[in-house]
Amino acid sequence: MNRIMTIAAGRNVQRAAALAVVVCTLLYPVLFPDQTYMHLIICTLGIYIIVNTGFDVLFGYSGQISLGQAGFYAIGAYFSAIFSKAGIPVLVSMLLAASIAALVGFFLAIPCSKLVHHFLSIVTIGFGEIVRLLALNGPAKLTGGANGIGGIPAVSLFGFQLTSKAAYLYFVVALVLLALFVKRRIVDSRVGRAMIAIKCNPDASEAFGMKLSKYKSMAFTTAAFYAGIGGALYAHLVRFISPESFSADQSSMFLVMILVGGMGTFCGPIIGSVIIIFVTEVLQQFGQYQMLIYGALIIFVLFFMPTGIAGTIRKRYYHLLNRLPVRPGTERGKDAAQEG
């Protein structure tokens, strides 16, 4: 295991591995054009990676818990569906919808930047519920009530209609790469470092002249934008949305993904999304026992990896892995903050 980790710590090895994963994903629809269900799963996985990547900026880096990510996800999905059905080009309506989600995130951050822990949890839970209930009970002409919105137009790119799942897959992969790149730039920037500092010690950061509410709302806005993009992608992928898909369970699923993968890391949200999607698909065959096993599995994993998969690997092989695209300050800083 030590040797595997030493090899994995090499920059070039990581680059090659990332390239291999991307190439395999891209080649998949070419080699297996009939497995449309698998294409659908990969698309969903990509969407979750995008949402979780944004969520990680909020939760893993700036340390603010949110149990209402499904709210932003729903805003993205609903607005994109409504705009595109009104005749606005799909790409524009996706961008518009994500911007609205980001705007909502910014306004939600105004009360939230003063809150911590359970206070923040309940406000975000409440926010998610409000969005879901608005979709359910709002103007039925707009949101369709419990029936949801059907017949959402497909994405068209340069005159091509991306109706097949395989074509959509390429679109999603491109956006995933863009999302990961932007996240990397954000967390490596001055703003990202400020977020980490605020997470580690809010009082000290404030004393150094960082405006907490500014960075906290930046994190919220970023996460909301990512979730909005994810929601819009979801709406144009399945082309039917209903309030069912945006319940509080969806929010806690995002949290589970990010915690299983490991928060505050580059790979964590990706690992978490892959594992949870994989586990859910494998458990499908157990029928009514599916969610029972899923719940038991979460507890089981925690007993052996109390800090998530990426967290545990990082802790055990820290001396080897400190060149991984992982911010070493986050884990240590958290411990220090708890002691203090």
Partner: protein, 288 residues
């Protein structure tokens, strides 16, 4: 109309307060958040239902047994899951994850064991509403209010007058110092989790005759109980009661005067507004 809604709101608020008290107890005793309270609430109702309806045991005995079983469940939960996880280096947020996992497990466990249909829990007090000064109140609502206040009084006296209660408060304030002066801190933490479970079970049994028993009954109640605890000031026993009553009354008033489909939107909106003005809840506690 107003009196009617107020009475209904207080009854619902009492349920939220009972669940919220559980959250507060757990937080003050072990500084942790548990997301399994709603499922304990549901499980308590199911256990009482099974003992009372299936085994035909007298109501009072059945309820007592169910509460005792859930008390034991709380101890097992703390000893079997939470404490070992903490020993293995899990942090607050991983405990949240573990309790989310457990709540998924329990919800589906109930669905498999008892089925997903709504079970009718016969009220031991009859259905005939009592008319009082122009307001009609069901006997179950009166039972909810009386039981809740009895529970709170009992909890208040337990906390302030008994040795175990006092040591629980001491351990909550400073576990290390409490341990130094000879208080059995693990015992007090276990008692707090068990009490929280018992309170949730009481709430479940009280609400069961009104809405019936079904696997998803805990999901929304756990959120609202949590809202009650936070609104009142997290970790503050009396805050949970105030928060629960406010939340219940606001919700019922919104349903009565505005629209029942908008009641949750309004009550959560009010919650966000209150926390915007008072970021630490109504009865201020230091959050860190």
């Amino acid at each position: 109309m107003f009196g009617q809604l107020l009475a209904g709101g207080i009854a619902v608020g009492c349920i939220y307060a009972l669940i919220g008290l559980g959250y507060s107890l757990i937080y003050s005793a072990s500084a942790l958040m548990s997301f399994v309270q709603g499922e304990i609430f549901m499980l308590g109702a199911y256990v009482a239902y099974t003992i009372y309806v299936s085994f035909q045991i007298p109501f009072a005995l059945a309820v007592l047994l169910a509460i005792l079983i859930m008390f034991g469940f709380g101890v097992v939960l703390q000893r079997g899951m939470i404490s070992p996880l903490l020993k293995r280096g899990a942090q607050q947020i991983q405990i949240v994850l573990a309790t989310i996992g457990l709540s998924i497990f329990l919800k589906n466990f109930a669905m498999i064991v008892w089925g997903s249909d709504v079970k009718n829990f016969p009220s031991a007090l009859g259905e005939a509403p009592i008319r009082l000064a122009g307001i009609s109140i069901s006997p179950q609502q009166i039972a909810i209010v009386i039981t809740t206040f009895a529970c709170m009084l009992a909890l208040h006296f337990f906390m302030s007058r008994t040795k175990l209660g006092t040591s629980l408060r001491a351990a909550a304030q400073d576990p290390m110092a409490a341990g130094v002066v000879g208080i059995n801190v693990p015992l007090t933490v276990g008692v707090a989790w068990a009490l929280a479970a018992a309170l949730s079970a009481v709430a479940g049994i009280l609400l069961a005759p009104i809405y019936g028993v079904y696997p998803k009954m805990g999901a929304i109640l756990s959120t609202k109980g949590f809202a009650a605890a936070v609104l009142g000031g997290y970790g503050n026993m009396y805050g949970a009661i105030i928060g629960g009553l406010i939340f219940g009354v606001v919700e019922t008033m919104a349903a009565g005067y505005i629209s029942s489909s908008l009641k949750d939107i309004i009550s959560f909106g009010v919650l966000i507004l209150v926390l915007f003005v008072m970021p630490h809840g109504i009865l201020k506690v230091k959050a860190d």
